[in-house]
């Protein structure tokens, strides 16, 4: 028992000593926490996301930092495990006293973090990727205290837009094949709601568990409703498997897909000639000069195109927090929360990503002028629950397998659609 006690005391002392060395100064540098999945099942998207966050911090520091202080980005790997993510959050908040955290990616970790830590300790959570509408519900019930923000639209924008696209294409009986994760679950049920409201009917639906070698049974089930079209809600690897099986079993080529399948990997795996009638959905923010500026900067820095999901929105999730810090009288969670929207003032002077953009923004703030950050994802705006809505668009594939964009729907039209469905 003595040994247990000694080991216990030692570990406790170690844990206490570790952070104290780094905790001496409060003012400079300004701390920013990050909880992202660098290893574990989301590593393939988490690593580039971490690079994007670090790139944003580098840009901010190059532009002179915040209030004359350099920004120290304390990045923690959550290993795609909720308990690890929660522990990292608690450590960042209590021991390193960060006023804001970038992340986490999975909604499973974001929900407890937003509803307990963030609101209790008054720390802003700014995530790129947690898309679950449960987080909106928490905000509506006041359980996240307004400290939760995200830069990717929720599944509702995607689902409603897809319903509209289906109706416009003349489809009335659509089958839905969806991956059983929080994204797929909500996209499906929102799609069904919107599609039926707009005059269509879901012919059949089949959910599948991810990472299986075959989805024949699910495809059979979706074929059963005698559909005139089909919607696939999946990510590239599973998407390729399920679409191939769908076509092999004689399914229609009138296909609709989510933005997750806007990937060369998927198109190549299925074959462009089978995808000529396919219509894809995406958020339309992914073009414009501010986006090009980010893409070019990324290309120079890493020597490849910013192709994996979540990069642009991560960059923006850091930038908006940094601008809010710059705007705040004092750098703390509540001040940041209250200034997040001021960084996006509608009639403010437009500033772009990159260190030049941040420098310009800082000068404008110093001069007392309103700013409007137009980010790597294009123009963005938080609603009262910390969600962003976005203009949308559709894309198709030409004979060579190249992606062709078109059919943009403005923010107003998206809002209109929301009203039409929700009443």
């Amino acid at each position: 028992m003595k040994f247990v006690f000694r080991a216990f005391t030692l570990t406790a002392l170690l844990l206490l000593a570790l952070p104290m060395a780094a905790n001496a100064q409060q003012t400079c540098p300004i701390k920013l926490g990050g909880i992202l999945p660098i290893t574990g099942s989301l590593a393939s998207i988490g690593k580039p996301i971490s690079d994007a966050a670090q790139m944003a911090v580098d840009d901010i520091n190059k532009a002179g930092g915040i209030k004359g202080c350099q920004v120290e980005f304390i990045l923690r790997d959550d290993q795609t495990q909720t308990p690890v993510a929660l522990d990292a959050a608690k450590f960042l908040i209590e021991v390193q006293r960060v006023p804001a955290i970038i992340g986490p990616v999975p909604s499973a970790a974001a929900i407890p973090m937003a509803s307990t830590f963030a609101v209790q300790s008054k720390v802003v959570l700014s995530t790129c990727c947690a898309t679950s509408p449960t987080l909106t519900t928490l905000a509506q019930e006041g359980k996240s205290g307004g400290y939760f923000f995200r830069t990717l639209p929720t599944t509702k924008t995607q689902a409603y837009s897809l319903a509209r696209i289906a109706i416009e294409a003349g489809y009335r009986r659509t089958s839905v094949v969806w991956a059983n994760n929080d994204n797929g679950r909500f996209t499906f049920s929102d799609f069904q709601k919107a599609f039926e409201k707009l005059g269509g009917k879901v012919a059949a639906d089949a959910s599948f568990n991810e990472n299986q070698p075959s989805y024949r049974a699910e495809v059979q089930k979706a074929l059963g409703g005698n559909p005139d079209s089909v919607l696939f809600i999946a990510f590239p690897q599973d998407g390729a498997t399920v679409v191939r099986e769908w076509l092999q079993l004689g399914g229609t080529q009138n296909m609709l897909v989510i933005n997750g399948l806007r990937s060369e990997e998927f198109i190549k795996a299925v074959g462009p000639r089978f995808l000529q009638k396919m219509i894809g959905y995406d958020v339309a923010q992914v073009k414009g000069p501010s986006v090009d500026a980010f893409n070019a900067a990324w290309n120079t820095k890493f020597g490849r195109a910013p192709a994996t999901p979540g990069l642009h929105s991560t960059y923006d999730s850091v930038m908006v927090v940094a601008l809010a810090m710059q705007l705040a009288k004092e750098v703390n969670g509540t001040e940041i929360r209250d200034n997040m929207r001021k960084a996006l003032t509608l009639n403010g002077e437009v500033v772009f990503p990159g260190s030049d953009g941040f420098k310009k923004a800082s000068d404008l703030i110093k001069a007392g002028k309103a700013i409007r950050y137009v980010g790597a994802t294009g123009p963005l705006q938080y609603d009262q629950y910390g969600d962003v809505s976005a203009p949308t668009m559709q894309w198709k594939i030409d004979a060579d397998g190249k992606i062709v964009e078109g059919g943009t729907r403005t923010l107003d039209q998206v809002q209109e659609l929301f009203k039409q469905v929700d009443g």
Partner: protein
Amino acid sequence: MIGELSYLIFFLIFVSIFAIAVLGLNLQWGFTGQFNAGVVGFFAVGAYAMAILTGPTQPRLPDQAFQVSGIGLPFALGLLGAIGVSAAIAYVIGLVTVRLRHDYLAITTFGIAIVIHLVTINFESLTAGTLGFVGIPRPLASTFATPFAHNVAYLAMMFAITGAVFWGLERIVRSPWGRVLKAVREDDVAAIAVGKNADRYRLEAFVIGCALMGLAGALYAAYIGSISPFDFLPIMTFQIWTMMIVGGSGNNRGALLGALVVWGLWTSSGALVSQVVPAKFQAQGGAIQVILIGLVLVGTLLFRPRGLIGEEPKVSRYVD
């Protein structure tokens, strides 16, 4: 200072949650020699039982026929329910698997954990599926004004429960019953030859062990307040096994120590990497953390194969 203390309390709450599960596994593997590779499954059963029994009504999606939630039992009954449900499920599984040994049992229990995972994802009317089960009442949270006081109280409760579990297990493994478990582990044919019903003892150890894992899961759910199927990944089974091996299997004190050391290493290595590794390589730092954890495990196996505190050779306090 209050911040550091607050983190330490949070950390110790997690340690005690894991410690209960490790104690359960230790009874199965350390004392009885049962290779349960489905620890996380029983942890999830307990967590979901707590959520369903005590939690509020979950939103019902348009295509759902019904939603079992909003039972709203008090915490204590939720805890008992979680133990009961995981014991009942373990009993049924135990009846089927009691004659399996070693790797066969491992494969079977691993499969069972996957089945439980799929049930939590797909049986939405019961578990709320991938949406996650939110708003589970957090006991003691409303009685105490500040989150800090709540955490202190919860830790005190965790210590009490972990202590009670530890004490109870120490009693039973030193009893004649516990000595039969060891006999079954060492040589079940010999145990049967002296008239012991090895299968019955194995089943009992399996059920008690799984009930403890369920208890740990329930305490996790009630502390965090929301759960999702993605909180209970197979890696958690590996973590709990590691805790037991590092601490010393076949020794309940080892189980407690293992939970503390391994979870401490798991989390502090992350903090260390984020402090030491230069900003430019932060995105690569995660890999270093995993390497560190791996090294310590391999080191333990090489240099202290019986764990930090191994099993005691004495089987009874009446023997010199």
